[in-house]
Symmetry: C2
Subunit: 392 residues, 2 copies
């Protein structure tokens, strides 16, 4: 079906996707006196006296800002703030639908790191949490870290951590099915933007052996001493592909491109570009390999092609194939949980409990049924409950 | 009745007053594919190609930012961004209820003029209009003017122009009733903050003779040469109280406080503080004087007291007396109209047509029935129609 044409029609028909509504009645003179002047003076005074009361008398505690500068939008790249608004409106209504979290899109007319940080800090009084979205690497790392440090509300870059959480969830179930251990398996990951970096960090945190991991960017395998590595890639080269630490002439040191890096891998994770993984590459992996081909909207390899080349499990971001791995399984429940538990920092422990909750939601995972249905609203509820339980 | 206690309860029960909702269905896999990925890529591409299409495919064109720094909140003064949030949420839901305009509260954690201007400009891509609220004078003047000049969406400081419009509307009807002409009457206005300054400018624009106007601030009457006048007060001293231009010893030159300035006035307009106008001052005015005592929540003089001292017409901001003059009669209809007519600058001509529309809405105004009922949703509709008609 033609999603693009129908989507245009839907957006034009409704003039966008979100609206603001009142939670209180505004029909009588008394209603106005309570919600506005003179009555509204009293909650204002209480908050002025005790700023924490803003969570009691306003919607701040349930309101997320969906912040983007439009620099890395879906598969579209750097299309700027205004053109990213349909995505941010979409994200906002998903928060509501799946987590009963209010969310509002703020598209920023700047791509300057300091200006973004400053602006988010200045508008923060209206919000209980910040969801950063579609901000390109490496700026997204500093923006997120600075905001986590400098704000007293939770800050979450969904492209990084939402993606990392749902991939870890899928991985947990893929390993259950294949009876493998995360610490033993060889992982090759392609694409070291915001998502790829966060995925690999969370996998290592959860027990993957960094010495079994090979990472590729658009120039090929990462190894210590490769020219022009960014700060974060340098850090990753320190812990992965460790044979190269003895020099690139060491026969165990892995260099070259994806075609070299994929050989013998148990798992391929792609957060890169459509079509980069060929059937021959899949055939060069270990037996019964697992493929997470997450490029949007076209994966690194189409599932049927990967299967024919011998893949045991194939997951993508697509709704028209089995094993759809989509952040919507995570972010609404995460904010529901941290709002209800009044948590201000989203730790690795929280990310892990969320991944485990999503994985365990599938009672008997199979090769064709790795993940919960993205339409199942109960996933968010279970995530929120798990976060509340963990942080009691 | 105890508005304050009941208002607290209402705010606590609902945890604030506004929520975000989806305008599109999100129940099926197809719904998600149209509103979010992959379908959403198409409206993004269209907007990237033609930025004006953001009005076609998103809610931008119906979305107002209600911006405050919390520096001059209602009768509460400088209580800061966080404590002002209940007022801004209230304003936002009034926009919706009376104008079907979506509005979102943005409370800014700064009171620096340049930072406010910069922040509003950076978040502007998400909004179709800016409503500045409760920002103290004189910063509000520069902030508004700069944003009007530097943004391509309408910017409106409601404390200034909303107040000026509803007072002009009341004045038009008060003059009808008393059969007086605006150009002939003597006006004394007390309080030269954001509202007072805008009121007097709009009255002059509409035909009041500035030589018949006396303006007071907390230090008394404004006249040319008075010490330490701000830029805007200096401008006003150039056109009012003109006898002082010949020197303060000129017997026609008016100096002193409100008690001196009110003598012989036909109309008193107060945008100042509770209780400043005494019955003796009312008695010193011309016969059958008109009193607009707009201080919130307590007026400069209570209506019954003013009536007993001889006032013919008394208007206040209060809902528990006749002649309630409240901005809610104006701002929802103004934004409804400028959004529908795709107007980017709110000119004096628009302000005047709005004031006339409000005044004319009352078919047979009387001393006790000067203004439309603030609960009457049709006022906003008529305002919007008048703006559209005027700008065809």
């Amino acid at each position: 079906m033609d999603y693009y044409k129908k989507s245009l029609e839907l957006h034009e028909e409704h003039k966008g996707k979100l609206a603001i509504v009142s939670k209180v009645p505004l029909k009588t003179r008394e209603d106005l006196s309570l919600s506005y002047t003179p009555g509204v003076a009293e909650p204002c005074k209480r908050i002025h006296k005790n700023p924490k009361d803003v969570y009691k008398y306003t919607n701040k505690g349930n309101m997320v800002a969906v912040i983007s500068d439009g620099s890395a939008v879906l598969g579209l790249g750097n299309i700027g703030a205004t053109a990213s608004l349909p995505v941010m409106e979409g994200k906002a209504i998903l928060f509501k639908e799946f987590g009963d979290v209010d969310a509002f899109p703020i598209c920023l007319d700047t791509q300057d790191t300091e200006e973004i940080i400053k602006t988010v800090k200045l508008i923060a009084p209206s919000f209980g949490g910040i969801n950063l979205e579609d901000i390109s690497a490496p700026r997204c790392f500093e923006i997120e870290q600075r905001l986590i440090n400098e704000l007293d509300i939770p800050v979450f870059h969904d492209d990084q951590h939402g993606t990392a959480i749902v991939i870890l969830a899928g991985m947990i179930n893929a390993l259950k099915i294949t009876n493998k251990k995360l610490s033993d398996i060889k992982i090759t990951l392609n694409g070291l933007g915001a998502a790829g970096t966060a995925v690999i960090k969370l996998l290592i945190k959860y027990g993957a052996n960094s010495e079994n991991i090979l990472l590729c960017d658009s120039k090929g395998v990462i190894y210590k001493g490769r020219n022009n590595l960014s700060k974060i890639k340098n850090e990753l080269a320190e812990i992965t592909n460790t044979a190269c630490h003895l020099g690139i002439n060491n026969p165990e040191c892995r260099t070259g491109g994806l075609v070299e890096a994929i050989k013998g891998a148990d798992i391929f994770i792609g957060l890169s570009k459509p079509g980069l993984l060929t059937p021959d590459m899949v055939k060069s992996m270990s037996s019964e390999p697992i493929i997470f081909a997450m490029a949007n909207p076209e994966p690194e390899i189409m599932p049927d092609l990967a299967k024919r080349a011998g893949a045991k499990i194939v997951a993508t971001g697509r709704s028209d194939f089995p094993n759809q791995i989509n952040n919507v399984l995570a972010f609404p429940g995460i904010f529901r949980g941290i709002f209800d538990a009044k948590i201000t920092k989203i730790t690795d422990d929280i990310k892990i409990i969320v991944a485990e909750t999503i994985a365990n939601y599938v009672v008997s995972p199979t090769c064709e049924n790795l993940m919960p249905d993205i339409l199942d609203r109960n996933v968010s509820k279970k995530i929120a409950e798990a976060i509340i339980q963990q942080n009691k």
